[in-house]
Amino acid sequence: MKNSLGKEIPEYIEGIGKLEPFQGAWTKLSKGWMDEATIPAPNKAKMAHQSKICESLRVAIEKSNPKDGMTITFHHHLRNGDIILAQSMMILHEMGIKDITLAASSLNDCHDSILPLLKDKTITGIWASGIRGELGKAISRGVLEKPVIIHSHGGRVRAIHTGRIRPDLTIIAASAADIEGNATGSHGKSAFGSIGYAVIDARYSKQVIVVTDNLVPYPCIPLSITQNFVDYVVVVDSIGDASKIATGTTRITNSPIDLKIAKIAADVIEHSGLFKNGFSFQVGAGGASLAVAKFVREKMKKHEIKGSFMLGGITSYCVDMLNEGLFETLFDVQSFDAAVSNSLLNDRRHIEIPAALYANPYNCGCMTNKLDIVVLGALEIDTDFNVNVITGSDGNIRGASGGHSDTASGAELTVVVCPSFRSRIPIIKDKVHTIVTPGETVHVLVTERGVCVNPKFKHLEENLKNCGFKVMDILDLKKELDGITGVAKEIEFEDKIVGLVEYRDGTIIDVIKQLKV
């Protein structure tokens, strides 16, 4: 069957179940409720003063009684410094457990070491918002029989509510915890800030293990993860490589191209009609996106504009803007640098939020719905403004859906920023390899060679033109880029599906096929 973007979606996949084709960004939501039933969260009981402490991660995992076919979940707040996921999977492997579904909120380069476990069928299913490194390459080459499922941050919460992801065991690394399992990432030697993605896992998983390298006297506050959902607590020497978990403060890029793009994007924002007192704002932490914050900050000071809140992934740059009084509040689902943890811990205007409040489409309103302006990156964009952030120009899975489609669907103004070509590969395609975010939720593309407005948003194009912007037709910009780079030969794929890309409402927006090698 075809979805509304013309992508062929299978009706059923063995081991995954029935699939529903994408029908439009808001088609399902506009009903006002979710048709799928939510599964009940597990009910457990503990006796008073019963100890949760286990002497090692292995003992805790053994106590959780792992079985073939289980689902295990992790969070990715330790980014590339995480060692707990790989250690846990190795323990399960040594125990001879097979056919595991791994549902980490995201997989990074630091997880390359579990690749042999995909080959020997210890792990046979993967859910994640992003997959990078060697895992991404191997999956793109068909190492797993079942396709992996890529979800958004908000979509992951929905998938757990509906039981699509049904965690048997959740292992939560925390930089501080107490003997009852109250835990946080906001202090300790391995501090990583918000632990927002793990909250839903703790609520729904049949067994929850908290792992920390910093056991503090009871109670551990703030109560980011609360004891009433935690079965076991393990103290280890280290939960990860501190230098890769979070380092210092995030610096603004020095790349002249990224700065040029960011400056144009900030001008677009200024003249969008939404740049006014009380506006809310989200930017990514990478390249041009974060640099947009630099120029928006200057504009806010110049025009004496004060915003309401910044949302999502928080960097020290956002903290600076909070401290300068440019924004009232930071809602932090994921912290990007070490300097953020301190603010999260000490400033009551800097608030840790769970993924559900951040972006789950199926509740009484997530915070992305309140966003005025979001600035996002892209690996590719097509002439219908559909965006790919998951597969690279060589066809490999190497990115992350993250909050891309969640924020795009919520924001009044979604600005996609990216260089017009990277390593000779032009950014604009007739059709992107993989759609993660549908074009109907993307307003503007900003590159160093021109600004393109989605023709669905005529008023915005008028606004920008009236302010003297040179707005280009995306087809013209594509033609210009192809002229500079030469037309790239299409990557070839096999028929086998190696990945499904879930839209935030649970429908399938695209499939990823196996690379021809």
Binding site: N254, P256, I257, L259, K260, E448, I484
Partner: protein
């Protein structure tokens, strides 16, 4: 005016996107001595194949006293960029010799002699002393520029951020250019992280009469434009002056007053220049 090293493809291919008024593709100091041929060939291919949008393209060649100057001319003159910039110009005579060689090449390629300008760089004490003759030696000399680093080296002094050592040279060069009604471009500001320093120096350049400033990093362009572009207040005031001028002209009045200040012909000329920079027109 943005300097781009002539042997750097990544920077050359993106040169047009920063909104610089002009680009200086450099075959001289920014290119290692054993890569002069590579840079010359690279610039030759990129000038003809890359869209530099609204930026004028100039090429700085090597001095004719080096083994590369002549070959640079043979490769670049047929492409007719907006201008050829000649380094370390010391006398009008050597500039005229350069122009002779250029026109000889143009003749061989059936090219007109009036399209491409010649820009002379003043980077030595001798050049500073001869700048009036250099600026006026030929109709094709469209601009002169000062090279601060080389000049201080030639004067055997240390370049200081206050520019004390080259202040006389700056003003002498500006005056020579103004006397011949050609453009005059200030030297680069080398500390790319010091935005305030760049702003201060650019404000000084503008104040003493330079028509533009060279930059070594695209990040510096916007600050220079901010300084050189007239402010909203300046544009408003200029608009009022020119409007009043036309009104009074109809009535046959040459000198009038706005807010109690006398407005005469030079002030009107200046206001018209401001409006021209801002792209604002006043109906007569």
């Amino acid at each position: 005016m943005l300097y781009i090293p002539g042997n750097n493809p990544a920077m050359l291919q993106q040169g047009g996107v920063y909104g610089a008024d002009s680009l200086l593709l450099d075959l001289e100091d920014a290119v290692a001595i054993n890569q002069k041929d590579a840079a010359r060939i690279l610039v030759k291919h990129l000038i003809t194949n890359i869209n530099y949008y609204d930026s004028e393209v100039c090429v700085r060649i090597n001095h004719l006293s080096t083994p590369f100057g002549k070959a640079d001319l043979e490769a670049i003159v047929p492409l007719q960029p907006h201008a050829i910039r000649y380094p370390k110009t010391e006398t009008a005579k050597e500039l005229l010799e350069l122009i002779d060689m250029i026109e000889e090449i143009e003749n061989r390629h059936n090219l007109a002699h009036n399209k491409m300008e010649i820009h002379a760089m003043i980077e030595t004490a001798m050049g500073v002393q001869n700048v009036f003759e250099i600026a006026g030696c030929h109709i094709r000399v469209g601009a002169i520029t000062i090279g601060g680093q080389d000049l201080t080296a030639d004067m055997n002094i240390i370049y200081t951020p206050d520019g004390a050592g080259i202040d006389f040279a700056r003003k002498r060069i500006v005056m020579a250019a103004k006397a011949h009604h050609i453009d005059v471009i200030d030297t680069v500001f080398v500390d790319i992280n010091d935005e305030e320093g760049l702003r201060r120096e650019t404000e000084y350049s503008k104040k003493i009469g330079f028509t533009g400033k060279a930059v070594i990093n695209p990040r510096q362009i916007d600050i220079i434009h901010e300084v050189y572009n007239p402010t909203e207040d300046e544009i408003r005031r200029a608009y009022r002056i020119v409007k009043e001028f036309y009104k009074n002209k109809e009535a046959g009045i040459g000198v009038f007053a706005i807010d109690g200040k006398m407005i005469d012909a030079p002030i009107v000329t200046r206001a018209q220049y401001v409006l021209e920079l801002a792209g604002v027109s006043v109906g007569e």
